[in-house]
């Protein structure tokens, strides 16, 4: 039986269509993917992302432990600051993609991991722990809600005294929200997975329903709607954000996955560092490209990518972009085979669909 988030009964009450994802029964959609997608782009959407896992590292060697686990350089993080990274194995294959935050106290570290990989990740971390460090899996105690969209900050600001205007992207703040005084885990983070401005709020699981209700009420007048995993997927792909297990796994290194920017080879020893140095020097054999299809066809995971009729790779994620009005995809292809090319074809159930090679960030919000 699938696990349930603390907001499961709220989703049922809202008439959500539920789907199993990462071991959890999650809302796929409420009013419809298109409507929810456009609401987030133009107004705001409220997501339950409590399936995500949170792992806390404490102790004097917390930072050193996380530093050896991930590819990015967390020594650069100030207190209450976060960054995106991947966690690799000794061969440079991606074990998971994570967000690492240094706690408000500047000492402990919180690593946010994917739901489907949580158990694997926690075992991986515990097998490699050293020195004065303790690892706590907080996932079942913490609910995570995301408010995303151009009106997200205005909505959340109604419920908290925290100065959200001064909360920079990839920073976190502890705050009382919706009258819920829960200083232990209640944290507002200016992060997201949609390409829009917004926040992710972690809160004690037992108070999640109270926060959900307060946010829905505060957001209603500003056009916010509850949004499910369907819209989350179309939004994240438009924004060029990756999905672990579909866009990358342990058979792919971050350079091939287009995530080489998360690898800081000069930070000192870390797991996978030697392999990644060799891959970078030799040049990865594969690369991840963005595709914009000419028609409304949808290229989907596993479809072949062709150049002059020859298979050169396959589609990782594909969907219809409601913002662009065309099919979009990201694909893992042979690097040499696309050098100098501006277009390829995708084999969609036997039909050859032409696609233009574009940056994987298909959508970039206008910043003011």
């Amino acid at each position: 039986m699938a696990l349930r988030t603390p907001l499961y009964h709220r989703h049922l009450a809202l008439g959500a269509r539920m789907v199993e994802f990462g071991g959890y029964d999650m809302p796929l959609q409420y009013s419809g993917i298109r409507e929810e997608h456009l609401a987030v782009r133009h107004r705001a959407g409220l997501f339950d992302i409590s399936h995500m896992g949170e792992v806390r590292f404490g102790g004097a060697d917390a930072e050193a432990n996380v530093q050896q686990l991930v590819t990015n350089d967390i020594s650069r993080l100030d207190a209450a600051q976060a960054l995106y990274s991947v966690m690799c194995n000794d061969d440079g294959g991606i074990v998971d993609d994570v967000v690492v935050a240094r706690g408000l106290d500047g000492k402990h570290i919180i690593v946010t991991v994917n739901a489907a990989t949580r158990s694997k990740d926690v075992a991986w971390m515990r097998d490699r722990v050293f020195g004065d460090a303790n690892i706590t899996d907080l996932s079942d105690e913490i609910a995570l809600l995301a408010v995303q969209g151009p009106r997200a900050i205005d909505i959340v600001a109604q419920l908290t005294d925290a100065d959200l205007d001064r909360l920079a992207p990839f920073h976190i703040t502890g705050a009382m929200i919706a009258g819920i005084d829960d200083s232990r885990v209640s944290v507002i983070s200016r992060t997201g997975y949609t390409g829009e401005d917004g926040v992710e709020i972690s809160i004690d699981a037992g108070r999640a329903e109270r926060l959900w209700d307060a946010l829905l009420e505060a957001g209603a007048a500003l056009g916010m709607v509850p949004a499910g995993l369907g819209a989350r997927d179309t939004l994240r792909l438009e924004a060029g954000l990756r999905l672990y297990g579909q866009d990358m796994d342990e058979t792919v290194d971050p350079y091939s996955a287009g995530l080489g920017w998360t690898v800081k080879l000069d930070k000192g020893d870390f797991i996978g560092g030697d392999a990644l140095r060799r891959i970078k020097e030799a040049g990865p054999a594969r690369t991840t490209i963005g595709l914009r299809l000419e028609g409304r066809n949808i290229a989907r995971h596993g479809h072949d990518v062709l150049a002059d009729g020859r298979r050169i790779g396959s589609v990782l994620s594909g969907t219809f972009s409601f913002t662009l009005g065309s099919g979009i995809a990201i694909a893992l292809v042979d690097r040499e085979a696309i050098t100098g090319r501006t277009s390829v074809d995708v084999d969609i159930r036997g039909n050859t669909a032409p696609a233009v090679i574009v940056p994987t960030k298909f959508y970039r919000r206008a910043t003011t």
Binding site: L28, Q29, G32, I33, R34, G230, T234, G295, R296, N297, I298, R300, T319, F320, G327, R349, N351
Partner: protein, 126 residues
């Protein structure tokens, strides 16, 4: 809900109806709701001859691509070209403006069709 007394249905969720001498084919309200937002339709050329049960096209939503099957045999007299630019019509009006094919030379001999009550029973069993 439109009057569906002249509509008949397949277990694969297509409908066929002859209204004022014109036979049309589409998918059911249950099917469009299951698919979610329809993005793209691949429909046959005019004059294609279909036998009942033949795959006649593909419907894509954000979630999935599904095959479409002919509820009866016949010749494709028209395809609903309005769906090319507005595939979401299948969601908003599946039994009306969301029709997909118009058939001539209709052949029901090998068709396995359900009436409205039987089809409703089928979907409620899900």
């Amino acid at each position: 809900m439109p009057d569906l007394s002249s509509y008949r249905f397949t277990s694969s969720h297509e409908w066929v109806a002859t209204v004022d001498g014109v036979t049309r084919v589409g998918i059911t309200d249950y099917a469009q709701a299951q698919l979610g937002d329809v993005i793209f339709l691949e429909l046959p050329d005019v004059d294609t001859v279909l036998r009942s049960g033949d795959r006649f096209g593909v419907i894509e939503s954000v979630k999935a691509a599904s095959d479409l099957y002919a509820p009866v045999g016949g010749r494709v007299a028209k395809v609903n070209t309005a769906l090319t630019d507005a595939p979401e019509t299948v969601n908003s009006d599946p039994y009306g403006e969301g029709w997909m094919l118009q058939l001539s030379d209709v052949d029901e001999s090998a068709a396995a069709l359900l009436d409205e009550a039987a089809y409703t029973g089928l979907t409620e069993g899900h």
